[in-house]
């Protein structure tokens, strides 16, 4: 669909690419959420994060989220881009951009999309510390 952009990639994610995809002459507001790799978690220093994905299913689930966001909220276009592979502090694992005629819908759809992504999309991150590594959320 031309109003949905989904990407799972080992390349660096691009804020401008997401912005340009959702920008539209009929839109009045764009909300963009950018996940970033934090240098600490529960008081421990993180060195890097390794993201692995069940690729085909991750893309399907991201498409489902995008379709649901367009259905549920009065929004125009949505981009959901996620990175795979080894990320350093400050790198970007995920960008979600949503455009809407009115800003409240853009905010709501963007929050819905990131909340749902963190629940349903089969992507896993392993945190690397100086003294070992651990799968995040593996033991909820």
């Amino acid at each position: 669909m031309s109003n949905i952009s989904i990407k799972l990639t080992t390349d660096k994610l691009s804020l401008d690419e997401c912005y340009n995809f959702v920008d539209d002459p009929t839109c009045g507001g764009i909300d963009i959420f950018v996940g970033t790799v934090r240098n600490h978690t529960k008081g421990k220093k993180v060195k890097k994060l390794d993201f692995s994905a069940y690729g085909p299913m991750a893309i399907k689930e991201m498409e489902l989220i995008a379709e649901k966001a367009l259905e549920k909220f009065d929004v125009l276009k949505i981009a959901i881009h996620h990175a795979e592979g080894m990320l350093q502090i400050g790198d970007i694992p995920v960008i979600i951009a949503v455009s809407a005629a009115h800003r409240v819908a853009a905010f709501e759809a963007c929050q819905f999309a990131i909340d749902t992504l963190k629940e349903t999309v089969p992507i896993w991150k392993k945190e690397h510390f100086s003294d070992g590594e651990v799968w995040v959320n593996a033991h909820p």
Binding site: G35, F51, S52, A53, Y54, P56, M57, A58, K60, H82, P93, V94, I114, L117, K118, E119, T120, V121, P122, I123, W124, K125, K126, W135, V136, N137, A138, H139, P140
Partner: protein, 80 residues
């Protein structure tokens, strides 16, 4: 029937493989598959927080596993 099972995250680590083959009876459910999996890989006995996907979609415990289905074991996700 012979099925291919994809493993990810901590489950792949526990089993030591990212893909395994498992002999399943015809017309078994996802529940039956889980039982067989734990019998074959006892190291998963204390790890049951995963869910199952069939053909890249989440499946329920009573879904029938068909021949040629792509089975995947999905431990708790942590993307984003």
């Amino acid at each position: 029937m012979q099925t291919q099972v994809l493993l990810f995250g901590i489950v792949a680590d526990l089993v030591g493989e990212s893909s395994i083959n498992l002999e399943l009876k015809m017309d078994g459910t996802v529940s039956d598959f889980k039982k067989k999996l734990t019998e074959t890989y006892p190291q998963l006995q204390n790890y049951n927080t995963y869910v199952i996907a069939l053909n890249e979609s989440y499946a329920l415990d009573d879904t029938i596993v068909k021949d040629n289905d792509v089975i995947a074991i999905i431990p708790p996700v942590s993307g984003g």
